[in-house]
Structures are given as C-alpha cells and as structure tokens.
Subunit: 66 residues, 2 copies
Amino acid sequence: MTNHIKVERAIKNITQEELARQIGVTRQAINSIELNKYVPSTLLALKISRYFGKTVNEIFSLEDSD
Amino acid sequence: MTNHIKVERAIKNITQEELARQIGVTRQAINSIELNKYVPSTLLALKISRYFGKTVNEIFSLEDSD
DNA sequence: TCTTTATGTAATTTATATATTACATTTGGA
DNA sequence: TCCAAATGTAATATATAAATTACATAAAGA
C-alpha cells in the first residue's frame, strides 16, 4: 500500500506538523505514514480524506504486493 | 466511525466467512469490524473496497463523535 | 555563515488490530 | 421440531499503530 499525502500537502502547501494538528495526530505519525513506515487506521485515513477533500481511494492505493 | 459492510455483503449475498476468505483475514475480524468493535487498517479497508467495487468512503464513514 | 523551519529518525511505551481457538446463539430450511 | 449454517462472543497471544520525547539533518533565507 502506498499514498500521496506528500503531494496533497504540497498542493495545499501545508507542513506535516500543520496536517497533524488538523487531523489530531502527532507529526511523527504523519511522517511515518508518508514514508510508508506503517499503515494508518481507516479512521485516520477518513480524516485525511476529509481534510483534503478527496476519497481515501484517491489518496491511498493498493500495490501488487498487497 | 461506522460502515455498512453487512449491507454490501447482503447485496453480494456472501457470508462473513466467505468475505474473510476473499480478503485474507479471519471471520472474527470481519465480524468485529461489522459490529464496530474495532477500526480496521486502511489496507484492509482498501481490500474490502476493492472486493465490493466501492470506495472506502462509500463503505466507511466518519461520525460526529470522530 | 548563522538561524530557523521542516523533515527524517530512533527508542520506548501504550493502545489496539488481528489471529487463534472455542463455544454460544440465532436463523432458516428440511 | 431438528439440523446445519451463519453469526455473535470471549480469552489469550502477537503484531503493529500511534504517542512521546528527543535528536539529527536538510533547506532556505537573513
């Protein structure tokens, strides 16, 4: 699984810290998710989805390895 | 957060066990998710999304309490 | 170059998702 | 009514998400 949160952040021009604040998690959580260090919960994905105004499927996607 | 996996299953007319098998988790995992006992990972949500041919956002949704 | 801001990373701890095994309950059909 | 399938539930174990704290690095501007 991968994601393009980094791109979405770039579009909105906000930092990891600001996104973390808006979503209600730590900056490290956002950083780790961006770098695919772990898979976020669906709750978190939905909050990110809501913040960026895009579906979870538009932001996160399955890979062949999944 | 809530979901209507149960409805999607009813539409496809499959059991929790069959869905679990298709997705690659245990039946208890599906059961617990349907009953909102815990929040699945985004990976699992995407697999469920793919299986039902609907977006994660169509199947899972945030509630006021989230 | 110095400073600041953003990002990457690492260790430890805590909460919780998921597996496993097993049993109870419900439901629908024969 | 009986039986079987489907679903609900529970206990324990394991894996991992996320918090916390802290430090290192990178980048960009003064």
